[in-house]
Each structure stands twice: as C-alpha cells, then as structure tokens.
Symmetry: C2
Subunit: 379 residues, 2 copies
Amino acid sequence: MGNERKEVLENRIKKLQLDLAAQNFEAVLISSVAHIAYLTGYGNFSKEERDAYLFITQKEAFILTHSIYTEVIKSQVKHLTLVEISRREPVRKILVNLLKKSLSPRKVGRNTRLGIEEDHLTVAEYRALQKEFRNIDNFDMSLSRIVKNNLEIENIRKACHLGDEAFLHVIKKIKPGIAELELVFELENYIRKSRADISFKTIVAFGKNSAYPHHQAGLTKFENTPGQIILMDFGVKLNSYCSDMTRTVFFGKPSTKQEKLYETVLEAQKKAVDFINSKIKSGKAIKCAEVDKIARGFITQKGYPSIPHSLGHGIGLEVHEHPTLSPKSKDYLQEGMVFSIEPGIYIPNFGGVRIEDLFVYESNGLIQTTKSSKNLTVI
Amino acid sequence: MGNERKEVLENRIKKLQLDLAAQNFEAVLISSVAHIAYLTGYGNFSKEERDAYLFITQKEAFILTHSIYTEVIKSQVKHLTLVEISRREPVRKILVNLLKKSLSPRKVGRNTRLGIEEDHLTVAEYRALQKEFRNIDNFDMSLSRIVKNNLEIENIRKACHLGDEAFLHVIKKIKPGIAELELVFELENYIRKSRADISFKTIVAFGKNSAYPHHQAGLTKFENTPGQIILMDFGVKLNSYCSDMTRTVFFGKPSTKQEKLYETVLEAQKKAVDFINSKIKSGKAIKCAEVDKIARGFITQKGYPSIPHSLGHGIGLEVHEHPTLSPKSKDYLQEGMVFSIEPGIYIPNFGGVRIEDLFVYESNGLIQTTKSSKNLTVI
C-alpha cells in the first residue's frame, strides 16, 4: 500500500514534468495548498500563511518549507528533495540555485521560462521572482485533478459517509427555540469529534432565510410553527478529501406550495442523473453545460425562477474543482469524475429548497455516494 | 454606542483618504480580509475565497461584494457605498467606472495611480488590473492598525478571558492515555461552545514533542510517567479580535533540569516586562528589538540556546500584526499597542518550555490581559 501510494505520487510528478516540457517551461513554482497535497500526499500546510512551495524542474522535484515542517516532511514525503527556507535567503535566490544544479547551467538565465500559479501567488511574491526571471507565465494545473483514482474516490466516499451520519445526528436536534448557529455547532462538533474537519462554512437556514442560497447562519431561532423549512448545506474533510451535501426538511406538514417546490427540485436532480446515465449507456460525450440545462430547464419550465448558481461542481482535495456543471462550462464528464448535482429553487420572502448529492461517474453509470434519504422529511 | 462605532469607522476611512492624497494615489483597492474588517466593522468574509474588495478613492468609499452579502452589508456597513460584483462585469471595469464618477473624469486614465495590497492580491487579479491601469503600486497599510482603541482592547481582553477559561477546562482533561489531538479538540470545543472561534491552529505537545516550537498535534498519547511536559499554545477569536497564550505544565514532579528551564523562561519574560515598564516610567523610546534582546540575552547568558522565534508580536484583527518584537524589528512600542511576550527554550530530544501572555501598553505601564497562573503547575 505504501509503495502503491508512492508510485501514484511519483507518477503525478512525472506527468507534470512531461507537461512542463510540452509547454516549454523549464520549471514551475507550485504554491496552491491543494496542488501541493496532490503532488506530495501531505495536506496539512496552512491556507492562510505561505508554509511551502514545490519547485518542479523538468528533471527534479523539490519541496521548499520552513524548518518547523522538516521532521514531518522527511518522514511523509520521500519522493521530493527537501529544501529548508528561512528569512536568511530569499526564495527567488534558492530557486535560481536549484535550477542551475538541476538543469545545465547554461540553460538557466533571465530568459528561463518559469511557470507560476497566478491564482495562488501574491503580487509581492511575483515581483520578487521578477528580479530573477523575465519570462514568467501561468501554468494551469486546474484540470490535472479532474479525474480521480480509486483511493481518492474511497476517501470521498468516507467523507460522504460521515456527512450522512452527521445529518442523522443533527435532525434529532432540531426543535423550537434552537438557533441556526447552535445547529451549525452540533453538525460541526459531530464531524470534529469523529477526527475529521469541515470542508467549508456550514449553512443552516430556517424559514425564509432558506431563500438565500448562501445564507450565513445566525441567531434566528427555530419557531414552533408548522411548515417551517430547514435547509442544511455542509461538508466533511477527511484524509484531505471533501464531501458536500444539502438537505431541506420540514417542521410539521409542509404546505402544498412547499411540497411542490420540493418535488420539483428532486425531480430536476433525477432528470440530470437520468440524462447522464442515458448518455453513458449510449457512449456519447457528455457536455456539463447540457446537464445543467436539463435541470435548469425543467425548473423554469415549471414556472419557477432559474437556479441562481451552478447545477454542480467537481470535488476532491478542494470543495469546488472541475468539472463545473454550469451554463457556460466547457468541461465534459468522464469516467472517474466526482461531482455534485444540486438544483435549488429560491423564492424571496417565502423560502427555498436545495437538494445536493455527490456522484461518481463509473463505467456503467453514476453512483450516488451521499446516502441520506431524499424522501420529503417532516420532523 | 452605534454612533460612536460609526464615527470610529468613518474616521478610519478619512485617515486612509488623507494617506492616499499624501502618497499621490488616486485610489486604493483593499483586498485583505483584516483590513476590510478594520475599515467596515464587518469581519465575516472568507479568507479562502475572494468575497469582497474595498475601493477607496480620495473622495469616496465603496464596498464591492457578491449578491449573497447584499443583505448583511446593507444592514451592517452603512458608511460605504455598496456595489455588487458578478461574473457579468469584470472588477477592473467596475473600478474604472467608479473612479470616473468619483473623481473628475479627466483625472482618470491609464496613468491613474492605483494602490494595491501586494501581499493580498493574486497575480491573476493584478494582471487583470494591468489591462486598465498602468500605474499600480503597493499601498502599505500594515502599520495602520498598530495602535488599538479602547473598544479593540476590550475585545482582546474578552478573547483572553475566554482563553483563560478554556485553559482551566483543558488542564482537568489531561490524563494518561489521552492523545494530543483529543486535547486540541477539548480546547477548541470549549471555545466554539462559547460562540467564539479559534484564532489559529492549536498546538498541544507532549514530552519531547514540546522541543518543536510549532509542533503539529498528533496521535501521541499522554504517558503515565512523571515529569512529562505538556505545552499548549492556542488562541480565541471573539468579535473578530484575537487572543494568543501559551502555558507549559508538568505531569508529576518535574526534574531539576525541567524546573530550571521553566524558571529561566519565566524570568526572561519578567525581564522584558520590567525593561518596558522602566522605559515607560522614564518616558524613553522603546525599541522592540531591544526588548527582544533583553529576554534573548538572559536566556543565552544562562547557557541555553537562543529563542528560535521572535520574542513577541502585536495582535488584533490578526493573530500576528505589528509591532514585531524581534532582533531585526524596526518597530517602537507606543501607548495603545497590544502584543505578546513569549520567550521559550527548546532542547532537542528533551523538551521545551514556552510562556506567552498578552500585554497592553497603558500610560502607567504594561497591563497583562492573560490572567492564567504562571506558577510552575504540576498536575
């Protein structure tokens, strides 16, 4: 297992080095924490401070980090060469020296083509690099993680499973008088007690608050009136991999209008799933934008407002990755992708319903990894 | 109180606009979440995604954010003009239009001098701005929050108080068999239950692990052997303001060597505090680098290794701010500053001791806001 993991990681580096050569980059400086996790298997660097970089030349692979990480990186990341960084020597100087050692020195100069991740590097870091490199360009890795291997899928499955458990736990806690933030605490606490983390800020919306798709949970208390909507959108992060799910439940018998809303959203999700499955069976290419259109069209055709967000998104080391299931997406679905399908209808001053599950594209069709019931639930 | 708060916030914007004029910037684009919180009073934007910018011209102040924040910003941030951003119109175009409306149009062109925060803007955002602005420079706000007002100090005090309570709670939980991560959970859970958040990743280090100043808590279990060291470094975030404290305690009677370590660290902190107080009394300027030297020198003079980190740091909306108490710091202490003093001694394969408290510089001397006992504690 250890060897298999090492081989997977080494192959990712090799693949990246082939991409570098193909795109005429001498080297790339990787700074996004998710890409570092993908290439090293180590996912505990901070997202708020710059703890580490990877520096991948066409021939070698280095991990640059502070001395406080030396021990853990030595023991957990053996397929990259560790280089300690400190305030004594600027990173740009270290990079030049590594390049000279890694490639033939005459190939290294101010015109050396260096890749950066322009969405994950600050202007200050960029300006420092410009002192040594004239030829800096964006190196796009955003599609590299789009297809997941079995181990990645297994990790996402486990995160989903814990999400299902957390949901079962939290619905027992919904009762009049409880505040949105208290339910958030219950959900997140359940996840953390299980030695996992949350993958994004939990959304809990009561009543009319559910009409805002990204409502920020607050002090709104749960009222003792029937037909109240409770929308919960949350995720688990386990072994660095994320889950994401949304359920909308009702307190007391929902009104006909609410019931209709719920059924329409559920049916929209089903339409999207059926569409993908039929395409898989017939072996045809599946454009993400078309999937989005199926669910979106069904909702608007029923007279409801269009979904004010994408129908879905890929998930993995980050909670939002490619593929993107949206009207303007250029992505196509492929075997091994994992993504959410999450239609929603939101009616101002009334409330909203969203249902979100994760799906794995397997050779015979979609497998839903979120297992919580989607029957209209009255608590 | 509401009016007083509004006045404080408005004055911060006015002060910033004077700085813009003095430094010949037509406008500045603020992107750091802490600076946005400082200038708006709203501290709930994500640090992982770009939820908002402030755009402050010499004459006006705008907050640019997504529609999901519209409601909360309308109700909580009344002294800035709200501008919604979406994918339809690039931010750079919005900025140009706002500038033209805000300043006389003939003043706005490709040579308009635009300030950015180069540590808080990505290369991709910068390159987009360059399509409209040729004259982009760093606008340094890092010193603007260095002196705190009474309300800020009160918030830090409250965060410290909750930290003290969390510490009292957690020392009761230390017993043989418990893992570092379980104590982390106990600490963080206590804080979150109290409707606060943690201000950084909690450090809990058992035994020899305490020799790493930034040890990452793991599965190491607490052993049933006397003289074991437990080092805990953690912080609370309450009303957007941070606390930070470290305590080192012993399980069973410490060895003479351990006791000596503890006393030296405690004395080093006291020396630094006494030094500052004597300077305050005599009305002399206090160079942060000199304060660092007092504590550091005391420790090395006793034959121990030098402190492998700064002696201390300012704290407020962020857990690390100016002033910096380090050998190379250029900061001076002033009334209204709040900072940590945290000497430590770390001996590989043996263990480490660090003691950290927050202090407020008041007119008559330092006031310690962390109240937990520093007597050598045996549990």
